[in-house]
């Protein structure tokens, strides 16, 4: 069996090798053509790139990186937006722009961690449930995912985050715990229909092991919707994480978080309106960017298929 697999692989490589890079480049060009047909997707992509760059290089791109922690400067407290403080300062003199950028950093980190854990778990569970369609394994996995989907995700995440200690780590755990079922359900639907395709049956007849069929035959055919959903989900995770931190269950002060900044700012309305409006706008623009980008990815994968 081992033997056969190795042989198959070399054969495939032999076919691809001569023009592997040019094929790769062609693929990129073609996908970029499909992606850039919609100007909104390009706008989304630029927002996403900008936000990611800001997040990565936050200490170098913000005017006052030290303001993202417990910093006090009463002389410049409550300044309106100006040339020195682009988006104004809060009642203890911290620059709102710097804090927003650092908050974006935390929010993006959270989205990445949540999706990096939830997506593989959800996908593998969905694969297994779909492969063992209408067996006890299918029933157990799918009914458990039904239970998780039976409460509004925000409520469950709030409940989990609340019984644990309120911090970033536990907020991530809470969101991850309620995120996997969506992927399980989606992959389950695809896997349970792909398992009857001829190429899977052929592999089975050749004596391929279950894990080979699951990961080498079925999984590659489920991946593009999974990636599409991931691109669209970044925005949702951002909403949920902002909501958690709005209630005080995310990142704890003095570390900034977007929801927390909006909730703090709303206490100083209407005098210090910039404290509340700008973090809120940052949330909206970031999520909008990721949603437009996700839509673009979906259209791209659909039309290039």
């Amino acid at each position: 069996m081992e033997h056969k697999k190795v042989e198959m692989k070399t054969k495939q490589e032999h076919i691809l090798k001569p023009n592997k890079w040019s094929r790769f480049w062609n693929n990129i060009c073609r996908n970029w053509y499909y992606f850039s047909r919609n100007k909104l997707s390009v706008l989304g992509l630029s927002i996403v790139v900008l936000v990611i760059l800001l997040a990565i290089f936050a200490p170098y791109m913000t005017p006052y990186p030290q303001h993202a922690s417990s910093f006090v400067d009463f002389k410049n407290a409550g300044q309106p937006p100006s040339a020195t403080y682009w988006l104004g300062t809060d009642p203890i003199g911290r620059d709102i722009f710097s804090r927003i950028v650092f908050a974006l950093r935390g929010a993006l980190l959270m989205s990445i961690v949540v999706l990096a854990i939830a997506v593989p778990i959800g996908t593998i569970l969905g694969l297994i449930a779909g492969f063992y369609y209408r067996t006890i394994i299918d029933t157990i996995i799918m009914r458990i995912s039904d239970i998780f989907l039976s409460v509004p995700s925000l409520v469950l995440a709030l409940a989990i985050a609340a019984v644990l200690k309120p911090n970033m780590m536990n907020a991530m755990i809470a969101v991850t715990v309620m995120w996997w079922p969506w992927y399980t359900r989606m992959v389950y639907g695809m896997a349970s229909s792909i398992r009857n395709e001829y190429f899977v049956v052929a592999a089975q007849l050749n004596g391929a092991s279950s894990s080979y069929i699951l990961f080498r035959e079925i999984l590659p055919n489920c991946l593009s919707p999974v990636f599409t959903k991931m691109a669209l989900d970044v925005g949702w995770v951002l909403i949920i994480s902002a909501s958690l931190s709005f209630v005080g269950l995310g990142e704890q002060p003095p570390t900034p978080a977007l929801g927390q900044m909006v909730s703090d700012g709303s206490r100083y309305l209407p005098e210090l309106w910039w404290m509340c409006i700008f973090p809120a706008l940052a949330i909206v623009v970031t999520i909008l960017g990721f949603n437009l980008f996700g839509d673009g990815v979906r259209d791209m994968l659909q039309s290039s298929r």
Binding site: D146, I147, L158, A242, V247, V262, V284
Partner: protein, 345 residues
């Protein structure tokens, strides 16, 4: 009848889900680090008192036994006592739930109205500026969390242009005897129109904050399914018969086009119950969500499990009702008991 079978199956699944949810909630509330009895009494309580409470709460028994005791109590409608309000959780829920249901109900009405109206307008004016405008609003609507919209509303209607009340359910000088807990309904029962109007005005902003985002998205769905159906043969046939566009639109085109909208709307209304958590907080709305948040911040386990279970119940009931509505719209369910194109994402 096939429809009966369909509803029965949904109900059984709903019951199963609720039982599973109760296990999940129980696990969450018991597996947390720390001793619930110690948590309830605080660090300075003497050991004997803590031990006594542990026995009262059956914390010395094994987990399955604890679950069974908890479940039988819940079945009897006893979630235990809230640590914050010092009252029975059921009494608290009974007091706060109607406010949330009232809000969710109005949100749903706004959603239905906007989704159908805007969707039809966009489909009629396909690729014109109205259509583009609704598309832009839909993009922004998906990207704007309900609580951010609520904060914007407070800023606009609380400070810049104060034409609507932004806090609470009723102006402070008014009061109304509680009959159903639905403020507008109570006022109408008492025959006091001015109070009903006041309560209604308090509803507008929170309900719109919850409804606007999803409504535009649903309008998009209505629009695209109407556009799809517009090119079907039966519509051309009706045009050939000389029916007016209005009759075609509202009598023949709308009903089949609403199936996907209603399915999505059901999920959105259910999600509204979750979003209401934050919006109620912002508008100082005395609903179950605000109660739940307070419970969560004070680690009030009985209240948390009660709230989450009740919300799960409302959620499951909503989805069953939506399925029944969809089955009336979609003959393939009524006749065969299954939905076509299940497993859609």
């Amino acid at each position: 009848m096939k429809l009966g079978q369909f509803i029965l199956r949904r109900l059984l699944l709903g019951i199963f889900v609720i039982i599973g949810l109760s296990i999940l909630i129980f696990t969450i509330s018991r597996v947390i680090p720390g001793d619930p009895a110690r948590l309830a009494l605080g660090p300075r309580a003497p050991v004997e008192v803590v031990e006594q409470l542990r026995q009262e709460l059956y914390l010395d028994k094994s987990l399955p036994v604890q679950y069974w005791i908890w479940l039988t109590n819940v079945m009897k409608g006893d979630f235990g006592r809230s640590l914050v309000t010092r009252r029975s959780v059921v009494v608290d829920i009974r007091e706060y739930l109607p406010a949330t249901l009232e809000l969710v109900f109005f949100t749903a009405i706004i959603m239905v109205f906007l989704a159908i109206l805007l969707g039809a307008v966009a489909a009629r004016n396909k690729d014109k500026w109205v259509d583009s405008l609704i598309r832009i609003f839909a993009y922004v609507g998906v990207s704007i969390p309900a609580f951010v919209l609520a904060v914007f509303f407070i800023l606009i209607f609380g400070y810049a242009w104060p034409i609507l009340p932004v806090l609470g359910r009723l102006s402070s000088q008014l009061s109304i005897p509680r009959v159903t807990g639905f403020m507008v309904l109570d006022a109408l029962i008492a025959g006091k129109l001015n109070i009903a109007w006041d309560a209604f005005k308090h509803l507008i902003l929170p309900a719109f904050a919850l409804a606007l985002g999803p409504a535009f998205q649903e309008a998009r769905i209505t629009r695209s399914s109407m556009v799809d159906n517009m090119n079907k043969d039966y519509i051309s046939a009706e045009r050939g018969y000389g029916f007016s566009e209005k009759i075609i639109m509202f009598k023949y085109l709308l009903r089949p086009s609403l199936i996907p909208t209603v399915s999505v709307m059901g999920m959105d209304i259910a999600a509204t119950i979750g979003n209401a958590f934050l919006v109620e907080l912002i508008f100082n709305w005395p609903g179950i969500s605000r109660y739940g948040i307070n419970a969560m911040l004070y680690k009030d386990l009985n209240a948390i499990s009660g709230t989450v279970l009740i919300i799960g119940l409302v959620f499951v009931l909503t989805s069953i009702i939506v399925d029944i509505i969809v089955s009336f719209l979609d003959p393939s369910i009524r006749l065969r008991g299954i939905r076509e194109g299940e497993n859609g994402t």
